[in-house]
Amino acid sequence: MNVSRFLKNVILVELFVPVLLLTIGIYHGLMQVIYRAGVIHQAAVAKLDYYQGLTLHGVINAVVLTTFFAVAFGHATIAFYLKKEPNRKATMLSLILMVVGTLLAAAAMLSGKASVLYTFYPPLKAHPAFYIGTAMLIVGSWVAYWDWAVIYVRWKRDHRDVNTPLAVIGTLVNFTIWFVCTLAVAYEVLVLLVPWSLGWTDGVNVVLARTLFWFFGHALVYFWLLPSYIMFYTMLPKLAGGKLYSGMAGRIAFFMFLILSIPIGVHHQFGDPSIGRGIKLTQSILTFGVAIPSFITAFTIAASLEYAARLRGGKGLYRWIWKLPFFRKDVFLFGYLINGLILFIFGGLTGLVNASYSLNNVVHNTSFVPGHFHLTVAGPVFLAILGMSIFLVSQLTGKKIFLPAINTIIPYLWTVGVLIFSTGLMWGGLMGEPRRTNMGLTYLNPASEQYHSYWVISSMLGLAGGGIMFVAGFLYFIVFFGTFFRKKTAASMIDFPVSESLHEEKRIPLFDTFRPWLLLMGIIILMAYLPAISDALNNTGRKAPPYLPSDPTPILPKK
């Protein structure tokens, strides 16, 4: 479809800002593995210290990039399927909030005043600009969502008996999850942390802050993942030359995410005091529930790809796989998406381990955790973002892909890197290697009495994998910016591949409406979280004053 110059520029800005910042984010990813393997034994490189770099890496890659992309891809999806461009004023407000907020947070991090990591657990304190900037980024994304919700409600009124396109269901489910879960972190940031970081309040209830953060923090990963799922269901079968095995499976999956993404956040807090074990066990069991839509997706996508491969003459129980278009430049998006799925096999399964109550004792806060999440957020999520950003830039600017052959191999190179990296990290984690630690200074420093020689091999694997990932990332930047700077050869447009359904599936109103699901979502959240919040409020013995990461002396108000 044709796109107005306004929407084209908005989407391009919403891709450019995060991708430019991603250069910093990826640089710090590489630096992490270099520090941790003990290649260097320093607290800082080029005036950026380890923990500052880790904060930049986490915030840019996992919050800024993912949020901007979700909004940009959301704009494109809603406009493409509902044939209605977003409201200009709302879109500009959204864009400005997101960009200004990001710049504020980036300034705080780059100036060394926000080395608190992307989880910003109090009582470690960051500069208020970090908290306020992050809040603005999030609120900006809400504005885009509210606008799409209005567009959808109006569209539905005119198309009462038409099944809402699956991609639209996915987008609205995703942002509904996002809006609800970010309410908690917005409260944590704006009510608990900002006044405290300004010195207006004396202490913060740390367990409460953590509980509010993880109300947000787990659902965050589904916010990252669902745009990839939309691509798996609605684009991948078409790219492969086949059809979607079951659109109904997709709907069931998305609505299950809607009700189960949020009421499971406490599985990040199994080691926390003050929260009862009953609630931790309940939320652990609920997490098994949210694994079900992913199992559904694995089967449905496999069946869809099998159908496509058999159409091309694929035979046998698994030989058909080789008939899929892995390296065809004209469907390069296939390569990005299939590699994401391969990584997610391991990412999803290890995620189940992390959330399994007492099993968490084996892995919590060890490098097993980043080993796991680089198979998910740096797996299907990141690869979908890379592939789709190139796709959108090329279509919106009417420019051909730069170095299309390199473009096809980027996801494969990335996948090899992540598999080596995550193997190293997970192995190290099982040997007790801590995450979020500058190991080069002590644990991987032969001159230190804390040297742990058995972490050498695991961190070396991390270094090797991280190095390969860095090369793939570097190639991506070349393709992305190279495409943008080419000559325009086609009209500006958005033309997503749209998968047809394999079977004739009747419209079932229950899976084409939000109200009953929203009600169920609210009920489950209340049942799962009221006890947790109540525990955090009642069992915490004292509040905590702020601390700068560099100073064990608390910042006490001047009396």
Partner: protein, 150 residues
């Protein structure tokens, strides 16, 4: 309403979840495999100390602060059962004895607790695995388990 293979996928996923949940309950009941106990907080937890209850029962009250654990070395005889309590005087710290299944968070205003049985002698390292500031990578304590002098 839904394809029969998809339905079987959902049933299989539910079955596997059920198997996992059963295994977790078994471990909880038969092996006491559990996460931290939930105890009411008390200022007395802010004093680091080792208590001996009897010949083979000890309590260690750990206090985490930027950037060390107190007691930084504890001596425990082989065959003892030890209750470990952890709180923090400042920011959030981690507390991990990886080869003893001990994985707790030291949070100001709260106390985490677990129980460990030391059947094997050795030096058990306690590592802080939650970012707690610039000295985080230096934060390690030891529990030395050996045979008591006669």
């Amino acid at each position: 309403m839904i394809d029969k293979f998809e339905r079987n996928v959902i049933y299989t996923a539910l079955l596997v979840s059920g198997l996992f949940i059963f295994s977790l309950f078994y471990a909880m009941g038969a092996k006491k495999a559990d996460v931290t106990e939930c105890l009411p907080y008390d200022k007395s937890y802010e004093t680091a100390r080792v208590n001996q209850i009897d010949a083979h029962t000890y309590q260690i009250f750990y206090v985490a602060r930027m950037w060390n654990f107190e007691p930084s070395i504890a001596y425990i005889p082989v065959g003892s059962e030890v209750d470990l309590f952890v709180t923090s005087l400042d920011v959030v710290h981690g507390f991990n004895i990886f080869n003893k299944n001990t994985n707790l968070m030291g949070v100001p205003g709260g106390v985490s607790k677990t129980t460990v049985k030391f059947e094997e002698p050795g030096v058990y390292k306690v590592v802080c695995h939650e970012y707690c500031g610039t000295g985080h990578q230096n934060m390690q304590a030891e529990i030395i388990v050996n045979y008591p002098k006669k």
